[in-house]
């Protein structure tokens, strides 16, 4: 197959157009061509309460990405982020632990997001979730790029998997053995979703606001 730069550029443009189309729920801003940003405006969270370190030993903190439920409302495979969050929280609750949601504006990297959440968590266990759906379970004492569990293939995630991620995170708090979550693997996923993933990541990164840091996100 003859792939040249021109073709890649055209595909990118087509995907951007689709993502930006009004029926996807976003306001019809001009396409990326020529512009520096996908979303011209940056949402300011300066007035939001800053997230504090929790003291409840049963707490599991979920750290969501900067664009979560705002610029991005669905994961890369189209699951509504409200439902994702509800299932993560339900999983934690079913195991008898207490969920808390914060928005990490410092970074758009899922591992750092999870680590920040873990550091704020009363139990030291946190979940990081990017707006496109990639999820990591982290522990406050680990190195940023190591983790307890990583779910890298966001396009294959389902609500059941998010529920189980919540349950597993809670089990780490309780020191119970965690059964690895059976997940599907599709070698074609990378190829199929690469452009979309990259764009979603750009949208997320645009909203990074190191000044504001981390804010409480429960109830928005």
């Amino acid at each position: 197959m003859n792939i040249n730069e021109e073709l890649v550029r055209r595909i990118t443009e087509a995907v951007v157009k689709q993502i930006q189309s009004p029926k996807e729920g976003q306001s019809g801003r001009p396409a990326v061509t020529g512009g520096e940003r996908i979303n011209a405006e940056k949402t300011s969270y300066a007035s939001y309460p800053r997230a504090k370190k929790g003291t409840d030993p049963k707490e599991v903190v979920i750290g969501v990405g900067p664009a979560f439920q705002k610029e991005i409302t669905k994961t890369i495979c189209g699951i509504r982020l409200e439902e994702v969050l509800d299932n993560l929280k339900a999983g934690i609750e079913e195991e008898g632990m207490v969920p808390r949601v914060v928005k990490v504006l410092k970074t758009s990297d899922v591992c750092f997001m999870a680590l920040e959440a873990a550091k704020l968590s009363g139990s030291g266990i946190g979940i990081g979730i990017q707006s496109k759906g990639t999820t990591v379970i982290h522990q406050k004492d680990l190195y940023p790029l190591s983790n307890l569990e990583l779910f890298p293939q966001a396009p294959l995630m389902t609500l059941e998997v998010y529920r189980k991620i919540g349950q597993n995170a809670a089990k780490y708090v309780k020191g119970e053995p965690v059964t690895p979550i059976a997940s599907t693997n599709d070698p074609m996923v990378r190829a199929k979703y690469q452009v979309k993933a990259a764009l979603l990541h750009i949208i997320e990164t645009e909203q990074v606001d190191e000044q504001t840091g981390i804010i409480e996100w429960e109830g928005k």
Binding site: A90, E93, E94, E95, G96, Q139, D141, L142, S146, N147, L148, E149, Q167, K171, Y172, K174, G175, E176, P177, V178, T179
Partner: protein
């Protein structure tokens, strides 16, 4: 300078010892090596393993293999062991009358009694009737809790049974707290309109009412006759976290006794014993039976199939016709196996009675001469079949500091437990008993319900620990151990085996204490009776007290707890018993190979 190698071919490992015969009639030991035995012990396939081990040992000594003057191999004991296990009871639920399992998170401790009704039919419920509501997984927790809250004022809802793992989620949203059981896979099979009792135990405790026949009778108002019939139900609910008992007119849980069959022991006459009588009675009969010539099982019964399976396997290995194979010793052990209950609604298991048997077959003389000539051909070194295994092991064991004649060795291997007694005059008595390490592995695997034998084997070998945080573990003796660096998160929360510096994760969610208890019990059940049996056979006049020294050798003597168990019980007979330390350096290994090199002196 003359180099001599001793080669010991065992059931699982081939060991080599290299020594130098100096001019003054002394032997200087140079090196040793150990390799996995290739093929079945006593067959030509062993040659590969022998060569590899020789290469290893000679390169350590710093000489080529061709420098060897003589290789001495052992006359391997002509016994092969095998093991088998069969359950002899079986629990079947003939009608859905019971659910008892351990969901990880039930909710709302307590008991409740009511008539079963599904969430869909709850609207048609009658006022004043107590209900237990069942809900399938298609109803979310919000919906279930909303529905119950809405109707709780009108109807009397006492408890719930859920298919999904959502008991805590539902309970957290209820205005009135009730016991809730979840993760019941076959919720559709729960009959509506029947009276049921439900119990959720307090955290860390098993159910108390429903595992007690009178408790069931109290909750379901049973007559004395009916109470009689719920005994198997109560029995199979012992130790569960949560349970449901449903009162159905014919509903029943049966404990079937499988046709386990009879065991025939042939000596001077034929002894018959029913397997149901248990392992102790079988072993007692075996003791009184005298010299056993063959052991057989009743055809087409569990034990019959078990023994004929063993014989078939042995016939294949030893290339002898099946009719010629004679089982001359068995070790029977009572055990329990978790078996899934027939007709269960939530994947319940029940501990069924089982018997594990290790059998030992005496074959004709093993073709050691063939191995010797093939080895001699391939290496160009003289090879001699020298000495009986037990004698060589005794000679090797004598190199342990602190030993004197008369000396007994207890060789605990994989397939058999052997004992030999050598006295001041050099005369030797020996015996081979069925049952050793392999049987322990099988018992561990069975009682813990492990699907892989390799896991059971590892559990047998290594001590346990639980990874409580990323920076510390708790060992099975209760001590904590801390780490500077985080342990791999894959181990977090899991029970692990400490294999040297490495950890092996146990994936089955079995508590550490249970694994440790089962492991110790399995070792005790096999090695205690076998050590006593073997030693009293070689003891002068059958009296254990007349043996002053017992040296433990063989693979199982390296175990981290078996030698201590034996030491403790043999101390009662005033016997000095301990793990061998061959040549002051080798521990319990290499006894036979060392004995073979030593015997070169005496032999010439």
């Amino acid at each position: 300078m003359r180099l001599i190698a001793g080669v010991d071919i065992g059931n699982s490992t081939t060991e080599v010892c290299v020594g130098e015969a100096a001019g003054d009639g002394r032997i200087r030991f140079l090196s040793e090596a150990s390799r996995r035995t290739t093929g079945t012990k006593g067959t030509e396939a062993n040659v590969h393993g022998i060569k590899a081990a020789l290469d290893d040992a000679m390169s350590r000594a710093g000489y080529p293999v061709s420098d060897l003057e003589l290789i001495r191999i052992n006359e391997a004991a002509p016994v092969i062991g095998d093991t088998a296990m069969e359950t002899i009871t079986q629990t079947v639920i003939t009608e859905s009358s019971m659910i008892g399992h351990n969901p990880s998170t039930p909710a709302g401790a307590g008991q409740a009694v009511g008539y079963l009704i599904s969430l869909e039919h709850l609207m048609q419920g009658q006022q004043g009737t107590p209900y237990i509501v069942t809900a399938s997984a298609k109803h979310g927790y919000e919906e279930v809790a909303g529905e119950i809250n809405r109707l709780q004022g009108v109807l009397q809802i006492e408890g719930m049974i859920l298919q999904a793992d959502e008991a805590v989620l539902v309970e957290n949203r209820l205005n009135k707290k009730i016991p809730i059981l979840d993760e019941v896979r076959e919720i559709g099979m729960v009959p509506e309109g029947k009276l049921a009792a439900i119990e959720v135990a307090l955290p860390g405790q098993p159910v108390r009412m429903l595992s007690n026949p009178y408790g069931i009778a109290t909750l379901l108002e049973l007559t004395p006759e009916e109470t009689q019939t719920v005994i198997p139900i109560a029995k199979s609910l012992i130790g569960k976290q949560s349970a449901v008992v449903i009162k159905t007119p014919h509903g029943n849980v049966q404990e079937n006794k499988l046709p386990a069959g009879k065991l025939f022991i042939k000596s001077d006459r034929r002894h018959v014993i029913d397997i149901d009588e248990g392992a102790d009675r079988i072993m007692e009969l075996l003791k009184t039976a005298g010299a056993v010539t063959d052991i057989d099982g009743e055809p087409d019964t569990n034990v019959g199939n078990m023994l004929s399976g063993i014989k078939k396997g042995m016939a294949k290995v030893s290339h002898e016709p099946e009719k010629e194979i004679r089982i001359t010793d068995i070790l029977a052990v009572d055990t329990l196996a978790p078996v899934e209950v027939g007709g269960a609604l939530a994947g319940e298991t029940c501990m069924e009675k089982a018997v594990g048997i290790a059998a030992m077959v005496k074959t004709q003389k093993l073709p050691m001469q063939q191995i010797a000539s093939r080895l001699s051909q391939e290496l160009g070194v003289a090879v001699k079949v020298a000495g009986v295994e037990a004698v060589m092991a005794s000679l090797g064991a004598l190199t342990t500091p602190g030993t004197k004649l008369p000396l007994a060795i207890l060789d605990m291997g994989g397939g058999s437990t052997d004992a030999a007694l050598i006295d001041e005059n050099g005369s030797i008595r020996m015996t081979h008993q069925a049952g050793a390490g392999e049987l322990v592995t099988m018992l561990i695997g069975t009682e813990l319900g492990l699907s892989e034998r390799a896991v059971a084997e590892q559990i047998k070998r290594y001590p346990l620990a639980k990874v409580e945080s990323l920076y510390h573990i708790r060992m099975e003796n209760g001590l904590m151990r801390f780490f500077e660096e985080a342990v791999d998160p894959r181990y977090f929360g899991h029970v692990v085996l400490l294999a040297g510096d490495e950890m092996i994760r146990i994936d089955e969610g079995i508590p550490m204490e249970k694994i440790a208890a089962v492991r110790r019990e399995a070792k005790r059940k096999v090695f205690m009776p076998n050590a006593m049996r073997a030693l009293s056979k070689v003891a002068p006049g059958g009296e254990l007290r007349r043996i002053p020294n017992v040296v433990l050798v063989g693979g199982c003597a390296e175990d981290f707890e078996i030698p201590e168990m034996l030491m403790e019980s043999l101390a009662d007979y005033q016997i000095v018993c301990g793990r061998g330390n061959i040549r002051k350096t080798q521990g319990p290994r290499n006894a036979v190979a060392t004995g073979l090199v030593l015997s070169h002196l005496g032999g010439n």
